[in-house]
Structure formats: C-alpha cells, structure tokens
Symmetry: C3
Subunit: 205 residues, 3 copies
C-alpha cells in the first residue's frame, strides 16, 4: 500500500542524481574540448534549473506524505545536499567564462575527470538506497568517493603550489586558484552526500 | 501548563532575529551613507554581543527545560545558525574598516540591500514558528529568501568578474573580492536558517 | 552486559582526540622551531592517517552494534567532525611547505598556540563524554573553546589587515592570507566538535 509513495521518493532521488551526472559530463566536455561557450553555459543552466525543480518536488512530496522511506530530515538533507553539487558545477562552469579562462589547462582537465568519476560513483550509491541488500556495493562506492576526494585534495595542492610558485600575474593566480579550490570543493560535496547515505543506512539497518 | 515555557522559547527566537534585523539595518546604513566609523563598529559589536547573550540564554533554557516546543537539537541548530548571521554581518562591517575600504561602491550598496531584505524575510519566517497556521506565509518567505540568495550569487559573480577584469591593483582585488564573497555568504546563512525552520515545520506538521 | 561495547566507543573517541592533540603539538613545534621539514610532514601525515583509521573503526563498530551510548548519527557526526580537525592541521602543515613559507612569523606562532590550546580543551570535553557527571567541567571547557575561537577571529583580522596594508608582493599576500584563514578555520572546527558534544549532552541529560 505505501510502496508507491516510497518508490516515488526513490524515483525522484534517481532523477536528481542522474541530472547531476549529466552536469558533470557536460562540465568535463566544456573543460577538455574546450567548449566554454554561451550555448553550453545555457545548457548547464538548464541542468541546474532542472535540479532545482526535482529538489522542490521532493520537498513538496515530503510535505504531503505521512509515510516516508526514511527520516524526514534525512530526505531533506539528502535532497538539498545533492542539489548543492549541481549548483557548484554550474557555478564553476560559469566562472570559467566570466573570468575569461577559455582554454583550461591540465589541472582543470584532471579535476573535471575526478568530479565526473566521483559523481558516477555517487550515482551508484544513491541508486543503491532503493535496495538495502546492495549496501555492500554502496559502501564500496563510498570508499571510492572518499578516495577521489583525497585525490582532489592532492590535485588542488599540486595545482595551487605550482601556480603560486610559477605564475607571475597575480590576477591570473587569483582566478585560477579559485577555480581549483571550487573544483576540489565539489569532491567534498560528493563525499558529504555519500556520508548522508551512509548515515541513513547505518540508522535503518 | 507547559505553554509559558514554550512561549519563552519563541520570545527568545524573536529577540534573536529582531537583533539580526537591527544589525542588517545598521550595516546598510554604514555602507550606503557611508559611515564606517569607530562609533558604528562599536554599535555593531554591541549588537553582535547581544546576539551572543540571547544565544546563551536559549542554550541555558534548553538545559533546564523538560518540555520544548520542538526537538532539542533543532533548537540548538536554529539558535547557533541565527547567531552565525549576526556574527557574519559584524565581521564584514569590521573588515571594511580594517581593510580601509571606507567608501564602498555600487556592488556593496546592492549587497547591503539584499542582506537587509533577506534578514527581513527571515524575521517573518522565525516569527511564524510560533503559530503553525501561518506556515503558508512562512513557506512564501522561504521562497523569497531563496530568491535573494540566488540574487546574491548573481551579484557576486557580476561584481567579482568586473573586479578581476578591470582593477589593476591586485591588493585591491584581494580586499574587495573577499568583501563580495562574505556578503554573498550572509545570504547563504539566511537560507540555511530558513531551511532549518522548513525542516522543523516538515517534522512537526 | 552492554557496557563493554559502550566503553569501546569511548575508548575510540579518546584515541581519536588524543591523536588530534599529538598533531596540534607537532604543528606548533613545526611552526615555532621552525621545523617545516619533509620528516615532520611525514610524521604529520602518519598522524592524519592514524586519524582516518580510528574514524573507520568507529564507523565499523557503529555498523555492528545494536546498542550505542548515544544516537547513531551523533556518533557519526562526532567522529567525522573530529577527523576534520586533524585533516585541517595536516593540510596547513603541508601547505607551509608547498608554498615555501619555511620561517613562519609571529602571527603563525600565535595561531599554532591557539590551535594547541583549543585542541587541549577539546580533549577534556571529549574525555568527559564518558562520564555525564563531569558535564559541568565539559561546559566550562566548551566556553574556553568558544573564547579561543573568538581569539582566532581577532588574530585572523589583525594578521590579515597588517598583511594587506603592509606587504607589497601580492603572491606573498595570497599565500599568507590563506594560511591565516586556514588556521582560524581549525578553531572553528574545534568549536563545531564542542557544539556536537554539547548537543549530545543536552539530548541525553
């Protein structure tokens, strides 16, 4: 009887994370092609806006549901925190354009790959929520997300040290430093969502 | 029987957010007049200190109360997070002085207005906590706070892009960039408090 | 019957905070001697890695325990947030090296002392969790951590204002500004853990 409603929540979480995956893939394409164009920024904006829609639908569903598959505040936290990932990716994509960094270098390429990998691992984690039996695979993907977050830290340190020690133009330093820090932050946001799912599984096991 | 205690919590939350409103109004005055004076910094410090007092009173009340109007940890979270807003506003006001940015420009004016608007909407949200029937208006003000947070993002991007592309002095860039980022952060803090109230309403409906 | 398991959690929390204390002491030594050497960075990395191990053991224990001394999500939050402190200290130590800031100045010395003091106060708070009767001392140490966090804010403002107004090389400004901000952030992380413990005590009193 309650299953349809529960299923609906999982469908919405799936749509939300699938949308983040679409954003991460477009981001990587924009950075590596490179293709930081008005057209792609618009596409990314549409993806970000789609994320907002799903987030609001989850909150609306929460308000009208008596039975939820897990704690109401965890649903809210999971939904808002997943939304933060696509907000972050959109914000970075836009700033590459605003700051006129139109041919991103090697470190940006590496970050775009780490972000895509992390979001793909997170997709498996979120899809796994629906089926508690999968929780071993979920835990493995959480470890992978943690590894990618560590790699993000290392990449950030390497990229910024090189920048600070080699680049002569301080304005370029300021711009690129922010890009590297923001990219690293996206891997933190992915880890945060993985932690929320981990916490939900710990409580409901 | 328990009402007086419950009312006391709502009174304290009202005092806390009213104090933030006073800070946001003074901040706007300091930025737009401009009047970044020792006297006004002292006034702002008194407001920030008043916020600390109310925050401690809420925590003390929590420790001595058996019955609370909603979950103990939500009261703690709401109180600490509201306190973060006035801490943030005070910190920014002080830095305009410390960094010798005594005649803030157009973007600072706009940020001061967005912050004041967001805090005023949040005041309605927090006042609404007392009366669950008002929850529709609360939800509308939450949407408004979300809109202002988005406007803060856009303002930040516009202000910083212009700064990075036009300003020649890198030290000025560093100073003003931090001011814009900190202002934008205050709108995030307002949205965070609105989310906490939303979550409390979702759980207690 | 359940006591051994409960004790085990407190043992792990003690080990975790004791490890953070070791890191804070090494950090202060590295900054003030100064001794930002490959050898000390390696030692700090070992401490950070030890922190990860304890954090994972706490999460594993959580997954296999039916009875926990307090809410499962609070255990997770406490453990992850304590881990963030040693991650932060390691990250800063490494960056002094990466950014070639090998003879840190007076403000760095002061920050290393404030961080050590805050971590030592936090050690008493976390040790106190085991024995609810001690909660008065715990509360006093929470106040002390709050005071040190305020001192961190003031130190940060003083250090960065001086830097922005006196230092001519913008790259040096960028490097040192980040160090001061990161140090201040460690005092925030300590306060966050103190808040979690406070919240646990409020809920379980």
């Amino acid at each position: 009887m309650f299953m349809p409603k529960e299923t609906k929540f999982f469908d919405l979480f799936d749509r939300q994370i699938d949308n983040v995956v679409e954003g991460a893939k477009l981001f990587r394409k924009m950075i590596t092609t490179p293709a930081i164009t008005v057209d792609n920024i618009d596409k990314m904006h549409a993806i970000e806006h789609n994320g907002d829609e799903v987030n609001h639908r989850i909150i609306d569903k929460l308000n009208e549901s008596f039975i939820t598959p897990f704690d109401r505040e965890d649903i809210l936290d999971l939904s808002n925190s997943t939304d933060n990932i696509i907000d972050g990716i959109y914000m970075i994509a836009k700033r590459y354009s605003l700051y006129k960094l139109l041919t991103p270098g090697e470190y940006s390429h590496k970050f775009a790959a780490v972000i895509e990998d992390s979001v793909l691992a997170l997709q498996k984690v979120v899809h796994g929520l629906r089926n508690n039996k999968k929780s071993k695979e979920v835990m493995e993907q959480c470890v992978e997300i943690n590894r990618l977050e560590n790699m993000g830290d290392i990449l950030r340190d390497e990229a910024i040290s090189k920048l600070l020690n080699d680049e002569k133009d301080p304005i370029v330093v300021i711009k690129k430093k922010e890009m590297y820090e923001s990219c690293e932050n996206v891997t933190d946001l992915c880890e945060h969502v993985a932690n929320i799912v981990e916490s939900i599984l710990v409580k409901n096991n």
